[in-house]
Symmetry: C2
């Protein structure tokens, strides 16, 4: 009975030397966690997701690899945490555009594109996180939601101009706009500072020129 009690206590209170989601954090711990996220963001941005090792993240944060695993269960969790933060932040920024509906269709879409491009420029690591990293289900959901916000933004404005357009059609055109955005963004992330303004203009032109005919084409297609 003594042995059994001992085993229970042994199994229930092991010395915590790995990640525990319920562990209490003090101020130092919170700061370490934030520092690790910042270090990971910098490393992902410089090397891309796959080239960035957990050891590199630890080194960047000036801690040992073991310390990293006190705060995150694995590499994917770090990427997922960052991707979720960024996806929610970006979705929020998109939702804030023209909330009082005073912008014209062209102005609103141009603003949407600007906001998205600015965000990706401010957070260069976001691209590799979304494209290359395997994400947790919840991070995937946030990424999915972000895409949906972009699509819906355009779909809503399309139907505001052309109420006879089906929801399905409107969403489809929003999705195509997103594909165009991603295609040009891929180049923007590697473009020289000198080439960037011209590409940003091309981004606006490509998406708006795709969408404009939708507003005027024959109602029954």
């Amino acid at each position: 009975m003594q042995v059994f009690t001992y085993m229970i206590s042994f199994c229930e209170n092991p010395p915590v030397t790995v990640f525990d989601p319920n562990r209490k954090r003090n101020a130092r711990g919170e700061q370490r966690q934030q520092a690790l996220l910042r270090a990971a963001a910098a490393a992902f941005g410089r090397l891309g997701y796959h080239q960035t090792t957990t050891n590199a993240i630890a080194t960047e944060a000036c801690v040992s690899p073991a310390t990293l695993y006190q705060f995150f269960p694995n590499k994917e969790a770090i990427a997922s945490e960052l991707a979720s933060m960024y996806a929610r932040e970006m979705a929020e920024a998109e939702r804030a555009i023209d909330s009082d509906g005073v912008l014209s269709f062209v102005e609103a879409v141009a603003e949407l594109i600007d906001v998205c491009m600015s965000f990706n420029r401010k957070r260069p690591e976001f691209h590799t996180l979304v494209v290359d990293a395997p994400l947790s289900p919840s991070a995937r959901a946030d990424k999915q939601t972000l895409g949906q916000v972009f699509v819906d933004f355009i779909a809503v404005r399309l139907r505001r101009e052309r109420p006879d357009l089906s929801r399905f059609e409107a969403a489809h055109h929003g999705q195509v706009a997103l594909m165009i955005f991603r295609g040009i963004l891929d180049e923007l992330t590697v473009a020289s500072a000198h080439a960037r303004p011209r590409l940003e203009l091309a981004m606006r032109n490509a998406i708006l020129r795709y969408l404009m005919p939708v507003l005027t084409e024959s109602p029954r297609k």
Copy 2:
């Protein structure tokens, strides 16, 4: 001196048990090499470049991993060989379009897009090879050339319609068309058979709508 002679002979005629580019091949060897390329293509297409292990390629070809290394120095060389073949084949197909110049601008560009989409549909592994695989310098050059053929095809047709357009401007618009193509292609490669025709239409629309205004906008921009 004997020892020296022995060492020379030892160094110059080691039993060849690894890849040697100058090795003579017999018919069986040629067939094995082709079979390995076919197996690799199938595996890359199914799993993507990174998920495809050299062991998986060997298994797919029904040989041992060691046999694979009799015919290729490393995994990258297999991907590079395939990517080069495909890039050259696709570039050739693009150059063959409208060689006698009878098509209109819209017809020619639409044909270009069709050819590119058909090729990617016929060789689903091409996408991951070009996007995900680290390629040899020569394969990278072939990939680069392929992109240039696409860009030039459009640039030449643009300047045929608007001779006052600078080469630089024309190439820029060709590059943007390529970015749009890639953005939508990314989705096409994962789209359901049901969603594909709609996306293929969107591909044509997105690129042509981007390019058409270039033909009519004010000569001095």
